[in-house]
Amino acid sequence: MDTISKEDIRKPENIVYKRTDLLTDKALSYCPGCGHGTAHRIVMEVLEEMGIQDKTIGIAPVGCSVLAYEFMNIDMQQAAHGRAPALATAVKRLNPDKFVFTYQGDGDLAAIGTAETIHACNRGENIVIIFINNGIYGMTGGQMAPTTLEGMKSSTSPYGRDIKSMGNPLKMTELVATLPGTIYVTRQAVHTPGAVRKAKKAVRKAFENQKLNKGLSFVEIVSNCNSGWKMTPNQANEWMVDNMFPFYPLGDIKVNED
């Protein structure tokens, strides 16, 4: 029988997990259940564990996470839509001793920002790109994204994505892996505790790679968008497993060990 009281357990020395101080106190503006929150948190945990808050500059996109700088307690720049890798290129080249990362959604990185993404990867800029792929444009109300699956409904593909008129979903991650300038390319998720732990390891590896000065680390995180997909968060995560993962399989696509 248990004689331990709650007060006994809830002592500061017994804390095994609490929200990192590198997230600000502000309540996240993301929808309930959205993977952005988890992705923000693992990035900030990695920066805290590496002790590099005072050396890191992050670049926020346009999209749902345009306000990422309200939640990440580091110096940040807000980039025009798609241009974050260009900002990051300059920031890193001008400040080689700092850790520089972009945090971008699928429209930002794979539509309007395609050139900036590919060329930063091609030049092998010594930065980290965090790519949140939820197959939809959340902020603007649920329109089709370059990563929207065939047949997937959105506000601009109300009858489902039609390959003939709208093209195929784009696998940017596989694309950038073909470029010699990328040294680490991986696809992760944050819908289960196991996936979150793996994703965090991947983010950690990406930031550690900056110390090597050998090229770009690209971490895609496939996420739900329960609002855009019009489901509950748990339903959206199940849908993601059944539909997104077969097309966007998780795992390391490129790892350059050194």
Partner: protein, 362 residues
């Protein structure tokens, strides 16, 4: 002891060399005629070995201006250069830079437009440069060089103004000035900013959040309209300050003039010759050369309007600056425009003939 140097250089190259000596931290550009020499010179000079300056050829003018934006957020002296069609691509980035109140230097070597146009010189980007081009209520400080010497002098001046006001500065050149070769006196090298200087002089810059301060966020986003209005009021106050302190112009034989030419850049060079030709014919002609197009020398033009019989705005365009001349003059005196378009450079003779037909004869 003076460490100045005398050289015979092309306008574009003089600007590039002067930028290195002005302590520039980074240049990000894309080739486009007639200014590719800026980046070619920088690449050949290897300023990274001289001062640590970064030179990077970007994948587009869009990428280049956004690299400038990122570098400017860090408190660095960063710059880009382009020509008219490329400047159109940069307008979003420029609006962001102005909205976020960041310092940077942009050079536009204007060519004939609209569209792909021609590669010959023009002055048809005046509206784009002084009235917007990008979206929103913002202004660029616009410097208009009319010699290779000014192309060199304006590099450090532009950086200093940019940092003084936390505003982008545009150097509005043209294909002729960029390509012509003239004697130029180069200033001595001044050092690039150290990290300590950046933290001290531009404490808003993203240098990494240390324990002794809050995080620095560089953004132009303000979803609260009241905050955004306050921000715009602040920007407007800044532009009024710039108008008060930074208006620059030059006059040539205006003291006894009956007629005035108003011209900048290449048109000013031609107009100066036109003044000589007119005077030889007995016409008391003078020239007012705006050196800043924003802020525009409204007051001196208004003053001249009270004592002359007519003003001719000479610009290689369909007439853009003439609107600002008219605004300055009101209905005090007749204002006309003369200019060639499509990249054609008029002769000083043509300018005098235009003066005669539009203002003097009848």
């Amino acid at each position: 002891m003076s460490m100045k140097e005398l050289r015979l250089m092309k306008g574009n190259e003089a600007f590039a060399e002067a930028a290195i000596r002005a302590g520039a931290d980074g240049y990000f550009g894309y080739p486009i005629t007639p200014q590719s020499e800026v980046m070619e010179y920088l690449m050949a000079e290897k300023p990274h070995e001289r001062t640590g300056m970064i030179v990077l050829q970007a994948e587009s003018e869009v990428a280049a201006i956004n690299m400038v934006y990122g570098g400017a957020c860090c408190g660095k002296r960063v710059m880009t250069s382009s020509s008219s069609p490329g400047m159109s691509l940069k307008q979003e980035g420029i609006s962001y830079i102005a909205g976020a109140e960041l310092p940077c230097v942009i050079l536009n070597a204007v060519r004939g437009g609209p569209g792909l146009g021609t590669i010959q010189p023009s002055q048809s980007d005046y509206f784009q440069s002084t009235k917007g081009g990008g979206h929103g209520d913002y202004k660029l400080i616009v410097l208009a060089p009319s010699s290779v010497q000014e192309m060199a002098d304006f590099a450090p001046l532009a950086f200093d103004l940019a940092f003084k006001y936390r505003n982008p500065v545009l150097i509005l050149s043209d294909g002729a000035i960029g390509q012509m070769m003239e004697k130029v006196e180069l200033q001595e090298q001044r050092p690039r900013f150290t990290e300590e200087e950046i933290i001290k002089n531009t404490p808003w810059a993203t240098t990494g959040k240390t324990a002794n301060r809050e995080r620095n966020i560089i953004t132009s986003l303000n979803l609260d309209s009241h905050v955004q209005e306050e921000h715009n009021i602040h920007l407007q106050a800044k532009y009024r300050e710039i108008e008060k302190n930074e208006t620059r112009w030059e006059t040539f034989q205006c003291e006894d003039a009956d007629y005035i030419l108003v011209a900048y850049g290449t048109s000013a060079r031609l107009s100066q010759k036109a003044v000589d030709i007119a005077r030889a014919k007995g016409i008391k002609l003078g020239l007012l050369r705006p050196i800043t197009l924003f802020p525009f020398p409204t007051k001196p033009i208004a003053e001249l309007a009270t004592r002359v019989k007519g003003i001719l705005s000479v610009e290689m365009s369909a007439g853009q600056m003439v609107e600002d001349v008219r605004l300055a003059v009101g209905d005090k005196v007749k204002v006309e425009h003369f200019g060639r378009m499509g990249g054609i450079i008029p002769s000083p003779q043509e300018i005098v003939e235009a003066l005669e037909s539009k203002l003097i004869g009848g």
